[in-house]
């Protein structure tokens, strides 16, 4: 478990913190002055904006930005078993369920396994012993209302054709049925691949009388399964999805109806390099810079832009390239909504574009910025007939992007 308070570490931090003096008296007048001024400014701004605010909210009924902070965690009381750092994988477990650790294989000694059940059943191998790496499990006597999540690690057996990394989160429909155990629960499973190698197999066993609630908990457990070095993984809840990209060290949250590109839409582009494309319409990869709608020098997926309709939106994030600490602004407090005067395209036909492109059905913004010591370009394109809700969503999605800073 890694979320209980670490008292020993806390004591060390407390010893370090104890020597940090505070001087409350000196700053209090300044705090009061700044606070009072801030309140006065706020009241004035509220009075000026209230009519516009009420009109906009009642018209569009937009609450998306607030929802980002209010995603309920259905499994917030669950325990964490294993850790990405030490074991290479982790899972969330309902507190009352029984956890039986399975030993690792000799070729990957850190990678333990686990069986989690809603019963007190103890798994053994056919010899009546604690199951070892790749051992069969005996289900004789397993309750009919029992369910099991199992992750059984695999060693590196060699001579295996590499396969693509498993896409996370796992869901029940990604598991394949094995036909089950004669007289026992049904079984579904899936091998987990990382970097071309198998790291283990995930199994679900469901007894014939298992309750719907236990099966739902089993599926949530499956969805919480994480493996180290699977660079991209998502969390979903209440109509919102958060994508974690651990290779590029960013997170972004987006609502239903948006799709993240599974691959780089601009493979010919090396600097800057595309790290995220997020759209409301089907995506295609551009084979070359002029394959589609090339928007000035903005190196954004030309074919995808060509496919964009007036009621769509498109966000692309690129890292590196010409932006640098000396010439680029830090990330603004908020992204958008930006006006026509700041757009790079869409407010007027451009004579620099082929005639067919002069009336492309969107307005676009190109925003270089620095964040956490890293340099980015944010591209936001919003269709000319996009709903107010979609416009709001586009900027809220951009606003939700957060980065892990470059280590000091």
């Amino acid at each position: 478990m890694n979320d209980v308070r670490d008292e020993a570490l806390g004591a060390l931090l407390e010893r370090a913190a104890t020597g940090i003096e505070s001087e409350p008296v000196d700053h209090l007048p300044e705090v009061l002055r700044r606070g009072s001024r801030r309140r006065a400014i706020r009241f004035t701004a509220i009075a000026a904006a209230v009519a516009m605010f009420v009109g906009a909210v009642s018209w569009a009924g937009l609450t998306f930005p607030r929802d980002i902070d209010q995603i309920p965690a259905d499994i917030r009381d669950w325990r964490t078993f294993a850790s990405l750092e030490e074991n290479g994988w982790t899972i969330q477990v309902p507190p009352p369920w029984r956890v039986q650790e399975l030993p690792a294989c000799a070729t990957a000694p850190e990678r333990i396994g686990v069986s989690v059940t809603n019963t007190d059943f103890v798994f053994r191998n056919p010899k009546g012993e604690q199951p070892r790496c790749a051992d069969r499990h005996v289900f004789a006597g397993f309750p009919r209302d029992g369910v099991v999540f199992q992750f059984q690690p695999w060693g590196d057996f060699g001579l295996i054709l590499p396969q693509a990394s498993t896409h996370l989160p796992l869901s029940a429909d990604l598991l394949e049925s094995s036909g089950g155990i004669s007289g026992g629960p049904s079984e579904r499973n899936a091998a987990v691949w990382v970097g071309g190698r198998p790291v283990g197999i995930v199994r679900q066993y469901v007894g014939s009388d298992a309750s719907a609630a236990d099966i739902a908990a089993l599926d949530r457990m499956l969805a919480s399964f994480r493996v180290r070095s699977v660079d991209r993984w998502t969390e979903t809840g209440e109509g919102l999805t958060t994508l974690h990209d651990e290779e590029r060290d960013y997170e972004v949250t987006y609502p239903d109806g948006w799709t993240v590109a599974d691959e780089n839409l601009t493979p010919w582009l090396s600097s800057p390099s595309e790290i995220l494309s997020l759209v409301t319409f089907p995506l295609r990869v551009s084979e070359q810079p002029d394959d589609g709608f090339r928007l000035f020098d903005a190196p954004v997926a030309p074919v995808a832009l060509q496919d964009m309709q007036p009621d769509d939106a498109f966000i692309s994030l690129q890292e590196g390239g010409g932006v640098s600490a000396g010439s680029t602004e830090n990330r603004p407090d908020h992204f958008g909504p930006r006006g026509c005067d700041e757009s790079i395209y869409g407010c007027r036909p451009s004579q620099e574009l082929p005639e067919a492109w002069r009336d492309a059905p969107f307005r676009a913004w190109w925003i270089p910025f620095l964040d956490g010591g890293r340099a980015f370009y944010l591209f936001v394109a919003i269709g000319t007939e996009a709903t107010p809700e979609l416009r709001q969503q586009a900027w809220a999605v951009a606003e939700s992007i957060s980065f892990e800073p470059v280590p000091a």
Binding site: T18, I20, E251, P405
Partner: protein, 159 residues
């Protein structure tokens, strides 16, 4: 709870904790003072709308941590060696080594460890303060603790 005396009492009682938390996160005493003052000024601007000291405490912690993130985001390189000499109290070696160890952590991990293990917030409260999900906090906690334990002599085990 609109009275200035009440705010001043709250400020006097809570400033040391906020200042220490910000110092542990930013590792920069001057920056921590700025952030703490800004957080309390925001609290004062909302004082009439906030009920109870617990709510005010959560608000000022959340504000301070967000300001820490914002400040860190706008500083390309972190300022180093900022704990004033006069603050090296009874056990300077321990604190300096802890500060050095914290400096090796990414900001989110540092915030998670400080809020959970030093300030004692529950993981769900840390997630609320940092504006992220509890599962994400757990990941930051695990990584941060592992990194700290790798460079610090930490006695005892997690309970």
């Amino acid at each position: 709870m609109q009275d200035r005396a009440g705010f001043e009492a709250f400020y006097a009682v809570n400033l040391p904790r906020i200042l220490r938390a910000c110092t542990l996160v930013l590792l920069d005493r001057a920056a921590a003072e700025d952030v703490a003052a800004e957080a309390f000024s925001k609290l004062w601007s909302h004082w009439g709308q906030i009920r109870g000291n617990d709510h005010a405490g959560g608000y000022v912690f959340k504000t301070a941590m967000r300001l820490c993130s914002k400040r860190r985001r706008h500083v390309a390189r972190e300022v180093v060696g900022v704990v004033p000499e006069r603050n090296l109290a009874t056990d300077p070696e321990t604190r300096v080594s802890v500060m050095d160890a914290l400096r090796g952590l990414p900001l989110r991990q540092r915030q998670s460890v400080v809020l959970r293990d030093w300030a004692g917030f529950e993981t769900s409260e840390v997630a609320r303060i940092l504006g992220t999900k509890e599962s994400t906090v757990r990941v930051h906690l695990a990584r941060g603790r592992a990194a700290l334990r790798a460079v610090l002599t930490v006695e005892g085990r997690e309970r």
